[in-house]
Subunit: 388 residues, 2 copies
């Protein structure tokens, strides 16, 4: 297929920030794109050739959209996977595949997949309903503390909870879920693997998610991870084995724990560009967004090495602010060396909403990390009115 | 002014490839943009917030467009400069300024400006009409060979000719022109200077334009230039002095000759992102396009150093091909290390039309140069039908 001609169209389900950043590459390569998103003001509404609104969970909407493109991809997992399968049956190329997405969409199925494929992951139990967990604990089949995860569409902070005692269970939705052993890890690591249809494989360097010591939230994504080479090699191998097991086409971001015993356990995966790879726009030979386009179009994969060290800080809406967004001190952080803000273009902020990110690159990773801390102290995502 | 709010609009005159690449940054920063270009299929028609068609040389069109934006810039020099001046008088910020553009638009005025400001440049004579040149030669005021340049809107290959004998003059248009001494140079160099309204100044590293030994055309732009440090320093200083003389706001690309005696002479300047800075998208901490946005919005300037060496090759339409463009072997060059094609999105090719460029980055400049040669031998910009 000639992607560099006006006869070809790439379809993208979802027009959020990940899709927006993928469009940097389709503009650069002049590849025709069509985007669908529920919101008329989605960040990707510009820079694509065609934009339409629609419900990505609706079977007919996704099938009808997919029939108008040559290759279909998605930038979020919450899309109608039956529709993707129908499109595949009709001969439309869908990458990553519906099979991969179906396995990943359900966290119980995802965990079983690791177990079936000999991919190291933390021990877990599966429950049809949260209410069944209490019995398991009472019977001695499970003990506190553990991590509760909703099987379907779980997201950090919404579908995940650390359960330390019975009362922590009370507020949880009564849905299909898993209870995972709480892993006291040294580091949370991630590796992005790229694989095209021809089976060419490349991995990005291991990145480290540095957590806030009290808030238990990722504060900095650091590339390269400040870990010994032997651990990095181990993490890369586990990531490669995971992508191979999925026979994945596209990017697969593999999040892992480095345990106290220096074991590597897969936590979860995302079949798309990922927050842990945002640094690559400034720090790598090939950004993860360009790599995703290369991989799903079966183009040769780009070089995944870094040209410089990179640290990424998320820009999330400050607590107590809701409304028209203001990026306080953005010009101040732009005076700092190697600092690039990325503003996703969401007009309204609310507490903890992902509004953008900032990349700090430097030839020295420790210096980048130091500047990142300054960035974090300086910029604030607020609104004109404090709603406290 | 808060650029990162929906109340602000940046206007861009011209929607060609340079504007298109500027829009990568306005999308990244979520800055609202409005673009005007004569062609409905201009490369920038996507990725801006608003696009309209119009004649950039028409006074009313430019004034009316300019009145709807907060800051106005241009990506080509062929715009109505009286309109820019009117807009400035009305309080619209126009960067680079109408004064700079007026000086640059006329090559005779540009040369006089260098002379008046003690900026080294090759000796020249100015003529109201090409027909006056013969008399000057007959009177001994001028001798062959020399470079004839049309004063207005001269472009390489159209408004420039090396005149070695009387008959070379015959085909030239009878217009205002200059006759410049032909400089036998060792290297053609370029330095891009960025300056914002506050007067902050930064220079990009010196790049080298390597010419084809026979065709006398630029084949490779190489960063850093393969010249001694002392020459590089000299070139940087001349470029800085030039930008300061213009009191320039925005990017100024300064093209220079390194003579056989290692003198630096300014050839000409461009008040915008420039072909000689395309490598910076992949090779620099801050791309020239981001830097232009930072400079004209009076934001802090980004770091201009390179992270890796870069070589740029233009993709121009092959001789004998006119029609719907085909990028032959584009996938083959994408297998080569550190190679990124940029496709501008012009649907029709014709001989020598600028259709895109390819950047090759590598930690070793000589290796990048070697791969660039392979790229040049491999990719061809053709059409489905050979028109020979």
């Amino acid at each position: 297929m000639n992607y560099f001609s006006s006869d070809f169209t790439l379809g993208i389900l979802g027009g959020g920030q990940l899709g927006k950043m993928m469009l940097y590459t389709t503009r650069k390569f002049d590849i025709k794109t069509k985007v669908i998103d529920p919101s008329e003001s989605a960040p990707s509404r510009l820079a694509c050739d065609d934009f339409e609104t629609g419900d990505l969970m609706d079977f007919d909407t996704v099938v009808n959209f997919g029939r108008t493109v040559d290759v279909l991809t998605f930038e979020i997992e919450n899309v109608n996977v039956d529709a993707l399968e129908t499109l595949e049956d009709e001969g439309i190329k869908v990458f990553p595949s519906s099979k991969t997405l179906r396995t990943i969409q359900n966290k119980a199925t995802q965990k079983l997949f690791y177990r079936d494929n000999d991919i190291p992951t933390s021990p877990f139990s599966r429950f049809a309903y949260t209410s069944e967990i209490k019995d398991a604990v009472d019977n001695g089949g499970l003990s506190y503390p553990f991590v509760w995860k909703s099987a379907q569409f779980g997201y950090d902070g919404m579908g995940v909870k650390i359960v330390r005692r019975y009362t922590d269970l009370i507020d949880l939705p009564n849905v299909e879920c898993i209870a995972e052993e709480l892993v006291p890890f040294k580091h949370e690591l991630a590796v992005i693997v790229a694989r095209n249809e021809d089976g060419d494989l490349k991995t990005y360097p291991v990145v480290e998610m540095e957590f806030h010591p009290e808030a238990n939230q990722v504060e900095y994504v650091i590339c390269p991870a400040r870990i010994p080479d032997t651990i990095a090699k181990k993490a890369e191998l586990v990531a490669l084995r995971t992508a191979s097991a999925f026979e994945h086409v596209g990017l697969l971001a593999v999040e892992m724990f480095q345990t106290q015993d220096d074991e590597i356990l897969v936590n979860e995966v995302a079949p798309r560009p990922h927050n842990s790879g945002h640094y690559s726009i400034e720090g790598s030979y090939t950004s993860q967004f360009e790599q995703q386009i290369r991989a799903i179009l079966n183009l040769p994969l780009g070089k995944t090495e870094s040209t410089v060290a990179g640290v990424m800080v998320n820009l999330v809406g400050a607590e107590d602010y809701t409304g028209d967004v203001v990026y306080e001190n953005i010009e101040k952080i732009m005076t700092m060396e190697g600092v690039t803000p990325h503003i996703y273009g969401k007009k309204q902020t609310r507490p903890f909403r992902k509004m953008g990110h900032v990349t700090i690159v430097n030839s020295d990773v420790n210096e980048a990390r130091r500047i990142a801390e300054e960035v974090k102290k300086t910029i604030k995502v607020i609104s004109a009115t404090n709603t406290k």
